[in-house]
């Protein structure tokens, strides 16, 4: 599944980042394989998405989120 499928409050672990579609800046902000990502809040129509990646709080658009593969963490 991808980051775009994450529900509010859920956590996942980043598995892979499609390097052609994801800008370097996002990686530098902590969006790297192995890091934990939590969906904090979504705007109307679930876009953009407000994430907590490894302590970095940032918002990205859904179109970017679909290029980030994750695995849900079950609590």
């Amino acid at each position: 599944m991808t980051l775009a499928d994450l529900k509010r409050g859920e956590q996942g672990i980043i598995k892979d980042v499609s390097s052609i579609h994801i800008p370097l800046k996002l990686l530098e902000m902590g969006c790297l394989p192995g890091n934990v990502v939590e969906l904090v809040q979504v705007a109307p129509f679930a876009d953009p998405m407000y994430l907590n990646i490894n302590g970095s709080h940032l918002a990205i658009r859904k179109e970017t989120a679909v290029h980030i593969l994750i695995e849900i963490v079950n609590e």
Binding site: I20, E28, V40, Y50, N52, G55, S56, L58, A59
Partner: protein, 704 residues
């Protein structure tokens, strides 16, 4: 002998870098521009222990040395150019203690450039609250640096930072890690071909595609022995480098930092559940805007009346004590009313800057970006366009510059083109005086009609901006990759010092910038209004006396003054354009105001003040002092047939004209610079003027 050392403050956005800068330099700072580009350059002077003086440069915030904007480019260009006069003797990397991991990425890169580097960990007052503890000696050893734990909020650690800066010669220039094993063969080859260059510097030059003195990408690619790589390969390597750096940082922090999650509290998430909520988020945003407009209107009346009256009396007083003559006339009829026309708006402009900087300082603006992105995208804009559109309510110039962090060129261009529609501070003087003239007093639900009209004008500006963005989005055929990342910084209580300095600096530069233009235009205007060609002007007294032999002396003087103005040079200009503006409900005097305000809008009020001062002969004999305030002069103005000039219809028509017209040379210049072509500003000028004319025409014809 005291020696000045160069210190550069570098850090991620939202780390309190500017607070550190303010703490070090106090008011010993100046804001300018980097030559040739419009990136803001903040520099100041700081006294260090043992009589050392430091020149402090506050560099634009950046997440890494891989630049993706002009602002970030400034950082790299400086750090790679040893010949630059600002090249730092020591770099201070400002970090946020709550996100050390990410902040250290930039730190490790700068260490690779072998510049003496200090790590300033800011917001240390938040450590307890967040359950963070740090092993400073361990971190210093691993990172090969000196660490200053500071809190600008509690004013702690600044002295320690100053001491470390003054001991900069003892700092290590050794890198704390080596990233070249991401592709050992490639870097080995690089080292062989360019033995005299620093390896990491070469790598940055290759990946950044910017020039650094005699070394640029193409000369590197052109060297025969060197095997170049494709763009995608380079990008993949940059990613590998980033991962490698994070591995190193994670290892260091595993031992050097402990976070006790049980005691950690997160106010940000709790607040954001409400402030970025699907419904409440928008309601709160609306209420904040409403509060701002009500405040600008209701809280500034007293100082404004005071300033208005003071300038009226100053003019009177100057007239009574100075010897009569051309110079006195110029001063009392040209310069003083002209300057008064700007000074009166200081309270409101300062309030506006205050609100905007408080919202930014708190961290609320990023939430607005988040809330608005989806909506703005429908109009071809980005959520990040909201910040330029909101700061456009202060001034379009910084707003156009603030579009730089919009990643997509199309979204950015559209934002630049529509931003001048938002109601900037320069429109405020015009709006306020016209609203006071033509909108009745009275309140509905505790909000005054006048405040509501003002809010409506802001909404019209914003609505037009968004509407034309939608059109432009359909018309412009530009393909550009859209990508959007915005950081949601922690909420912070605003620091009074930061806010104070921002409001002071911005208001000052607004008043001086506007003041210069207004002063110049006032003087030119006064000359054009006080001299004229031909008989009608030079023999005005005789002609009028002959025509109206029965008038009292006072009325006669008024008539003569009017006759003179009408046949002066400026009167001739006004009369020439009168046929064009008559359908909008304006007379030739307003026409003069329109012409002069194509330089800058706020000149309008000053122009009318100057014209009406000259156009009436009433001097100190006039008992009613209130008559000398600008507003009352305008209210008393009549057409030749005795009807009022400023009626509801002509007032609304003027308001709309100013809402839409592109009357600001500085904005046109900045748009030219940011879009790198005259095409866009000229297009802006033509379209906005046309919309203004049509809107004013329709409004007047319907309302009259």
């Amino acid at each position: 002998m005291s020696k000045q050392i160069n210190v550069a403050l570098i850090g991620n956005p939202n780390t309190g870098k500017t607070s550190v800068f303010n703490a070090l330099t106090g008011l010993n700072q100046k804001v300018g521009n980097y030559p040739g580009i419009t990136v803001e350059k903040k520099e100041g002077v700081c006294k260090l222990p043992r009589g050392v003086k430091a020149h402090i440069l506050d560099l634009p915030g950046t997440y890494s040395l891989n630049a993706s904007s002009l602002d970030e480019n400034v950082v790299i260009e400086l750090l790679l150019n040893k010949e630059h006069k600002d090249f730092p003797d020591v770099a201070v990397i400002v970090c946020d203690v709550e996100n050390l991991k990410r902040n250290l990425l930039l730190f490790t890169q700068i260490k690779n450039l072998e510049i003496p580097t200090i790590l300033a960990i800011n917001m240390s007052d938040r450590m307890e609250y967040k359950g963070i503890s740090l092993d400073i000696p361990y971190l210093e050893e691993q990172l090969n640096t000196k660490i200053a734990l500071i809190s600008t909020r509690k004013n702690k650690g600044i002295d320690q930072l100053k001491t470390i800066i003054s001991d900069y010669k003892t700092l290590s220039t050794e890198p704390c890690m080596d990233a070249s094993d991401i592709d050992a063969a490639y870097f080995e080859n690089l080292k062989e071909v360019f033995p005299n260059q620093q390896l990491y510097k070469l790598w940055l030059v290759i990946t950044q595609d910017v020039n650094f003195g005699n070394l640029d990408r193409h000369t590197i690619d052109g060297v025969e022995d060197f095997k170049t790589k494709s763009k995608t390969d380079l990008k993949r390597l940059q990613q590998k480098e980033t991962i490698k750096r994070y591995q190193f940082i994670n290892n260091v922090l595993k031992k050097g930092q402990t976070i006790d999650l049980a005691t950690a509290k997160d106010l940000r998430i709790k607040l954001d559940r409400i402030l970025t909520h699907k419904v409440w988020g928008y309601v709160i945003f609306g209420l904040i805007l409403l509060l701002i407009f009500q405040a600008i209107y209701d809280w500034t009346g007293v100082p404004m009346d005071f300033i208005d009256a003071s300038f009226g009396s100053l003019s009177e007083w100057a007239k009574s004590v100075l010897p009569a003559g051309v110079f006195t006339d110029l001063l009392t009829e040209g310069i003083i009313p002209g300057i008064g026309g700007v000074v009166i708006f200081i309270p409101q402009i300062a309030f506006l800057f205050l609100f905007i900087s408080v919202l930014e300082e708190i961290g609320y603006m990023s939430r607005v970006v988040f809330l608005m992105d989806r909506i703005m995208r429908r109009f071809g804009l980005s959520g990040k366009s909201v910040v330029p559109l909101i700061s456009g309510t202060a001034c379009a110039i910084p707003a156009v510059m603030a579009t730089r962090n919009i990643e997509s060129w199309k979204e950015r261009l559209i934002t630049i083109l529509v931003t001048p529609f938002t109601t900037c501070a320069a429109r405020l003087p015009v709006y306020l005086i016209l609203i006071a003239l033509v909108i009745p007093d009275g309140r509905i639900l505790g909000l005054s009609y006048q405040a509501l009209t003002l809010m409506l004008l802001y909404l019209i500006g914003f609505g037009t901006a968004v509407g034309s963005a939608w059109l432009l989005n359909k018309v412009l055929k530009i393909k550009s990759k859209s990508f959007f990342v915005v950081e949601m910084p922690n909420y912070k209580l605003p620091l009074a010092k930061n806010i104070g300095i921002t409001v002071l600096e911005k208001t000052k530069s607004f008043v001086f910038e506007a003041g210069k233009i207004i002063l110049a235009i006032s003087i030119v205007l006064w000359f054009l209004a006080s001299y004229g060609p031909g008989d009608q002007f030079n023999n005005a007294e005789e002609i009028v006396t002959k025509e109206y032999p029965t008038l009292s002396e006072e009325d006669l003087n008024d008539k003569i003054a009017e006759q003179k103005l009408e046949y002066s040079y400026i009167g001739i200009i006004g009369k020439t354009i009168e046929p064009v503006i008559k359908p909008l409900g304006y007379d030739w005097k307003i026409g003069i105001g329109l012409v002069t305000s194509f330089a800058a809008r706020e000149v309008f009020v000053g122009t009318l003040a100057t014209i009406y001062s000259i156009g009436s002969a009433n001097d100190i004999e006039d008992e009613d002092k209130a008559r000398d305030t600008i507003k009352s002069k305008m209210a008393a103005e009549t057409h030749s047939n005795g009807t009022m000039v400023f009626t509801f219809a002509s007032g609304i028509s003027l308001l709309l004209f100013y809402a839409f017209a592109m009357q600001c040379m500085s904005t046109l210049a900045i748009v030219k610079r940011e879009t790198n072509s005259w095409k866009w500003p000229m297009y802006q000028l033509a379209v906005m003027s046309a919309i203004a004319y049509i809107a004013a025409l329709v409004a007047f014809q319907f309302l009259k």
